[in-house]
Symmetry: C2
Subunit: 417 residues, 2 copies
C-alpha cells in the first residue's frame, strides 16, 4: 500500500486524557482512534493487526475441531435470570436498555448462557457431542474505570470458545488440546516465551482455573513463576497448599507483573444443569453436558504486544501480526521515483505485504521517525545513494545497524525471515 | 468438512413465533439461530455465507480505493446532539444506556457522525483528501417491529462506506465509481439481473438518492422499472416530473416488490459543516468537505438471496456465496466408505470447498432432503451403485436431472463451473 494513500497518518500527540502507554502509542502511530474512554476504533493499520491475530487464533481453534459462529450482542433478561447473572449486584458490567415495548434487554458482556441455551436445540443424544464452537465477539462491558487503553475496554474483541462434552474424561481431553492450542497462538503472536499457563482461582466448581499471563509492566496481575519448571501461580492463590501441590518452593519463584491474555475454565455440569442442557446417554439415562469455556482477549493481546515491545521510538511488531512485513521508505525524487516504484512492484508481486512511503514533501528524518513509530519489522530505504550501488538499505526495526542489500537479492532476503 | 462433525444439523421446525420465510428456512437448514425477534446468531453454515458476501464487497470496495476500518458501537451523546440526531423524536431507533457515572451513551445505528468527527483529526489540508473508508459494522437499531427475519433486524451487519472529497466534482467521480462497484457486488452475489439502481427520495440536500433494489416478494418497497432502458423509480418519487426527467412514460414501466439491498447518498457539505470538518484549500481558503455515504445491508442481502431463490425443497445458493461449493453425499457402507472418503480427499486437495455427508445412520431420503434444504450448488452422490460404474451422480441444486460423471473427471467438471 502506498503511504500517500494510507488513511491515517501519524500524530504528534495523543488526546490529553489518554493515560495508557499502549493507547497513546497506537493513537500517535495511527492504529486506533479513541471514541471515548475504553472504546477505540481500529483504523487500517490497527485493523490489520487485529485481523492477523484473529487469523492465527482461527487456524489454531479450527485445528482442534473448533467451529466458528457469531452470537448476538442483544441479550434476553429471562435467560440470564436462570443462572442468576442478570442482577447488577451479581454482574456489575451490564449495559442494559429497553425495546420499544418496554422489554428490558442487555448487551453481551459474555456468552456462556446464550450459547448453552442454544445447544439445547442441537444436543439431544450422546451422538451429538462433543461440540466445540467459538466466536470473535465484540463484548460490551460497563467498566467503572477504563484507563488501560485497549487492555481493558468497555468495548473490545474477544475470542470465546465453548466445549460441550459428554463426561469429565472427554472434557479433560479437549481442555488439554485447548491449552496446547493456546500456547501455539501466543508463540505465533510473538509472546510465547513470556506467557505462562498460570494456576488461578477456580470459582465454585473447581479448585483452580488456568490463566495465560504475559509478562508486561502494563499488566494488572501479579504472578510467581519458574521458567525451567514451567510453573506459574497467580498471586491470588499463592499459598502453602498450592506450592506443595505444584512441587515448588516460594523462594525459587520469580515475581512479575503480567496481563491476562487468555483463560480457560471448567464449568463442569453446573451451567448445563441450570439451563437444561442434557442428553440421552448410551444407556438411555439423562446426563448434563460438561461445559468448558476458553477466552482470548484479541484486542487486549494487541495492546499487550504494543506496550511490551515498544521502545522510545515507537512500536515494534512481531512479524506474524505486523500490519505489513516491509516498510519501503523512498527518499527518491524525479527520475529515481520510477526506480523506487519498481522495487515496490517487485516486492508486492512476490507476495510480500509492503507499506511504501512514497510521500514527496516529507523530509527523510520525518519519514524515519514515522517508520519507527509504526514499527513494521523490516525497513528498506531506497535513495539516490543506495541506487548508485544498485542497493537498498535494510534494517530490522529491533536492531540498530543497517546493511546494504543488492536489489536483486531483496526478495530472497525478506522471504528468508 | 465432514457433516458428521458439522455444528449444526437441520431442524424439522422453526420457532413458532417465526413469521418470515427467510428466517424460517435459514433456521431449519441450520444457518442461523433466533436469539430474539430481530436478532439472529450465525452458525457455521450461515457465517460462511456472511463471510463470502463480505469478501466480495471488500474486494470491490478496495478496488475503488476504500480502506477498511471498524468504528465503535458505543456512541457519545454530545456528538450526535451537534447534528440533532440524538433526540428520540428525530431518530426513533436508538438503544441508549448509561455509564456507571451516569453519562448517557448510545449504541451505533449509523456512523456518519463519529467517522466525520474523527476525520477532523486527519483532514486539515487539500492534500489530505480524498479519503474513502468503510467498515463492516454490527448495527443496533431499536426497531418497533422486527418480523422480516434477517431482512430488517434489531442487530445486523452493514457495510457502510464514506467518501470525503474536496468538491462536488471529486464527489461525483467517486459516487459513480461506487455505483459501478455496487453493481459488481450484486452481480457477483448472484442478484445482478434483478437489482436496479433506483431513483429514490433525496432528503434535504439533493433531489434524489440512489437505492439498489432487488426484486423479491419479501421486499417492503415498490419500484417501477424498465429493464432495457435500465431505469427504475421508487414508488415514493414516481410522478410526472421524475418520469420526464428520466425520459420514460408510466405505462412502459413494470411494477415490482423489492428489497433495498444498498443505498448511496450525497450529504454535500452539510454534515461536515455541522461537525467542523473543513480544510485549507489550494488558495488558502477554508472549505467544508463533501461527504457521501454508501451502504450495503450484508445480512439483509443474505436474507434476500435466501428467500428469492428458495424453492419448496429449501435454499438455493448462488455459487459465489454458497457455504460450500459441493455437497458430497455418501450412501456407502462398510468397504465402500473408504472409496467415498477418497473422493472427498481428492476434491478438497483440488481446493474445492466440500461438505461431505459421511453420516452413517441416516437414510438416503433424509440425506437428500437435508441436501436440498441446505442448498449447496452441486450435489454429488456416491453409492455402491455409482461406484460399480466408477462414477458419482452429479446434480445442480437448481436442476432436476442428475448425470453420472466418471470419478477421474469430477474435479475438472466441478472446477469448470
Amino acid at each position: 500500500m502506498r503511504q500517500s494513500h494510507l488513511f491515517t497518518k501519524t500524530l504528534k500527540d495523543a488526546p490529553k486524557d489518554e493515560v495508557s502507554k499502549n493507547a497513546e502509542l497506537l493513537i500517535r502511530a495511527g492504529f486506533v482512534y479513541k471514541e471515548m474512554a475504553g472504546a477505540y476504533a481500529y483504523l487500517p493499520l490497527g485493523l490489520r493487526v487485529v485481523e492477523n491475530i484473529k487469523r492465527i487464533i482461527r487456524e489454531e481453534m479450527n485445528a482442534i475441531g473448533g467451529q466458528e459462529i457469531i452470537m448476538t450482542a442483544l441479550q434476553r433478561k429471562e435467560l440470564w435470570e436462570k443462572t442468576d447473572r442478570w442482577n447488577d449486584e451479581t454482574v456489575d458490567v451490564w449495559f442494559k436498555s429497553q425495546l420499544k415495548n418496554g422489554t428490558e434487554i442487555g448487551f453481551g458482556w459474555s456468552h456462556e448462557e446464550p450459547i448453552t441455551e442454544m445447544m439445547t436445540q442441537y444436543i439431544k443424544s450422546y451422538k451429538d457431542v462433543p461440540v466445540f464452537v467459538y466466536q470473535f465477539q465484540t463484548k460490551l462491558r460497563n467498566e467503572l474505570r477504563a484507563k488501560s487503553g485497549i487492555l481493558r475496554g468497555r468495548e473490545f474483541v474477544m475470542k470465546d470458545m465453548y466445549s460441550y462434552t459428554k463426561n469429565e474424561e472427554e472434557h479433560e481431553e479437549f481442555y488439554q488440546h485447548a491449552i496446547d492450542a493456546y500456547k501455539k497462538v501466543f508463540l505465533r503472536a510473538g509472546v510465547g516465551d513470556d506467557t505462562f499457563v498460570t494456576f488461578a482461582p477456580g470459582g465454585a466448581f473447581t479448585e483452580f482455573s488456568h490463566e495465560f499471563q504475559t509478562i508486561t509492566d502494563a499488566g494488572e496481575d501479579t504472578i510467581f513463576y519458574h521458567r525451567e519448571k514451567n510453573v506459574a501461580i497467580n498471586a491470588e492463590v499463592l499459598n502453602e497448599k498450592t506450592l506443595a501441590d505444584l512441587g515448588v518452593s516460594r523462594d525459587e519463584l520469580t515475581e512479575a507483573k503480567t496481563a491476562e491474555v487468555g483463560n480457560i475454565f471448567n464449568f463442569g455440569t453446573h451451567k448445563s444443569t441450570q439451563l437444561g442442557l442434557q442428553f440421552a446417554d448410551e444407556t438411555g439415562g439423562i446426563t448434563s453436558v460438561h461445559l468448558g469455556s476458553y477466552g482470548i482477549g484479541v484486542t487486549r493481546l494487541m495492546g499487550v504486544i504494543a506496550e511490551k515491545f515498544a521502545d522510545d521510538r515507537g512500536l515494534v511488531w512481531p512479524s506474524a501480526i505486523a500490519p505489513f512485513s516491509v516498510h519501503l521508505v523512498s527518499l527518491c525524487k524525479e527520475m529515481d521515483v520510477e526506480k523506487a516504484d519498481n522495487i515496490y512492484h517487485i516486492l508486492t508481486q512476490a507476495g510480500i505485504d509492503v507499506l511504501y512511503d512514497d510521500r514527496m514533501d516529507i523530509r527523510a528524518g520525518e519519514k524515519f521517525a514515522d517508520s519507527d513509530l509504526i514499527g513494521i519489522p523490516v525497513r528498506l530505504v531506497v535513495s539516490p545513494k543506495t541506487l548508485e550501488q544498485s542497493c537498498v538499505e535494510y534494517k530490522h526495526r529491533s536492531e540498530t545497524d543497517a546493511v546494504l542489500v543488492l536489489l536483486n537479492e531483496i526478495v530472497a532476503k525478506v522471504q528468508a525471515l
